[in-house]
Amino acid sequence: MIFYFLAVTLILSAILVVTLKNIFHCALFLIVAILAIAGLYFHLQAPFLGVVQLIIYIGAIMVLILFAIMLTSRISDRLLQTASRQSIPALLAVIVFILLALKSLDKTPLPAHIGKNFDPILDLGRALMTAYVLPFEVVSLLLLVALVGAIALARKD
């Protein structure tokens, strides 16, 4: 019941994001879509992921997108072009994505096995600090590159 409500909200708002003519409203429906995804995480009993979705995507990335919208000139009088001529590459990308998703779904043993003393956050922290320490450090490097790149791009003017 909750799942279907969230799923329908997600799909409807995602459709509105790409079809609405007012770019600010598009961004707002993107927020609704992200909220629905956060709701799905909570529903799947992954509260940590849900809250991270709120903090990172709503609190940070959406703010960035809204700032970016205000950066484009004269947003109010120009209507968005919602049709695109690149439908074939888009279709290809979608097919590739669906194949990847099916593949990873196929590889996941379902239903997932949960240990007795399972604590999502503690286990995540332990995994990041032991088995996945190299990817963890690489993330930091990636963030550094993103920061440097952003500054380099903006400083050109």
Binding site: F24, H25, L28, I31, P47, F48, V51, V52, L54, I55, I58, G59, A60, M62, V63, L66, M70, D119, I121
Partner: protein, 317 residues
């Protein structure tokens, strides 16, 4: 099932009543405190020492015309105050007043509060944009820029506490301070938290977003009547939330001798609220460039250093 539902509903009603009363009290206290700092009396006419002033003001706000200007984006203009209040109110789902007095004790309580309060940013942006007013948009932008900047030192100053308590559950964090409150081992962390939190709540000296003299009132300039009061309400609710979090994270929450836990908790929170008011009426406002460089060049490095030092101290102990 039914009994559980009734208890839940009663708890929610209690939260709403508490929020409303607290805001009334905080606004009254702010007016009185500011008056006495400036050697004035403040409200004196309605009730004993103006004690009923806030009730009169509430009635007045309810009876005022709610104007929706014709150039605004109607839907967003309507949603923004709702979102603003709801994001402040959501934090009280897991904010404990004592081990028993809490609507629902979440394991990720601290993170949850940080998450839902970050929705405030969006409501400010929506309000500023929907108003189609230059002051409102600039004020909204400045608010958002300030809040997101100070969010980083805020989170970083909380990390050592999480590290020592080994939990994000607010009740567990308080229990971990049984022998000594974290403020004694984290004095710098506490100062950083309080400074960043004051900025998060747009309190002076960090109130550039609503600087009356230059931006009229910031993001809520086009709002009137009940919609304006929702923003106002949310602002004071947020102020109580950050002080309550400070009390829980650093001052040992409801722990204290003799008096019942709730009383201890409220004493600590209101003491912090008084400190914030004291700061507001003592320091002049910072300029926006000073505000930003203070955050990125002083608070952020200090918070990182504090985090590393307390981490080292913890693992070597």
């Amino acid at each position: 099932m039914i009994i559980g539902l009734i208890i839940l509903l009663l708890k929610i009603a209690a939260v709403l009543v508490f929020i409303s009363l607290t805001v009334l009290f905080l606004v009254y206290a702010e007016r009185k405190v500011s008056a006495h700092f400036q050697v004035r009396y403040g409200p004196m006419r309605v009730g004993w020492h103006g004690g009923l002033q806030m009730i009169a003001d509430t009635i007045k706000l309810l009876l005022k015309e709610d104007i929706t200007p014709k150039d605004v984006d109607k839907l967003v203009f309507f949603i923004a105050p709702i979102l603003c209040f709801v994001s402040a109110y959501l934090a009280y789902l897991t904010l404990p007043f004592s081990p028993q007095i809490v609507v629902k004790n979440l394991n990720i309580g601290l993170l949850y509060i940080l998450g839902v309060t970050s929705l405030t940013v969006l409501s400010l942006m929506m309000a500023g944009w929907a108003s189609n007013n230059k002051y409102a948009l600039l004020g909204g932008f400045r608010s958002v820029a300030q809040i997101i900047s100070y969010e980083i030192p805020l989170v970083l100053s909380v990390l050592p506490v999480v590290m020592m308590a080994g939990s994000l559950n607010l009740i567990t964090i308080v229990e971990a301070q049984k022998s000594l409150p974290f403020i004694l081992v984290q004095p710098l962390g506490f100062l950083l938290y309080l400074t960043a939190a004051a900025a998060e709540a747009n309190r002076a000296p960090f109130d550039i977003p609503e600087a009356e003299q230059e931006l009229v009132a910031g993001y809520n300039v086009e709002y009137s009547g009940i919609k304006f009061s929702m923003f106002f309400l949310a602002e004071y609710v947020n102020m109580f939330t950050i002080c309550a979090l400070a009390a829980i994270l650093f001052l040992g929450g409801w722990q204290g001798p003799i008096l019942p836990p709730v009383i201890w908790f409220l004493i600590k929170v209101y003491l912090l609220v008084f400190v914030l008011m004291w700061v507001r009426w003592t320091f002049p406002r910072l300029r926006i460039d000073q505000l930003m460089s203070f955050c990125w060049k002083i608070l952020l490095p200090l918070a990182l250093a504090n985090f590393l030092i307390s981490g080292l101290w913890l693992v070597l102990k």
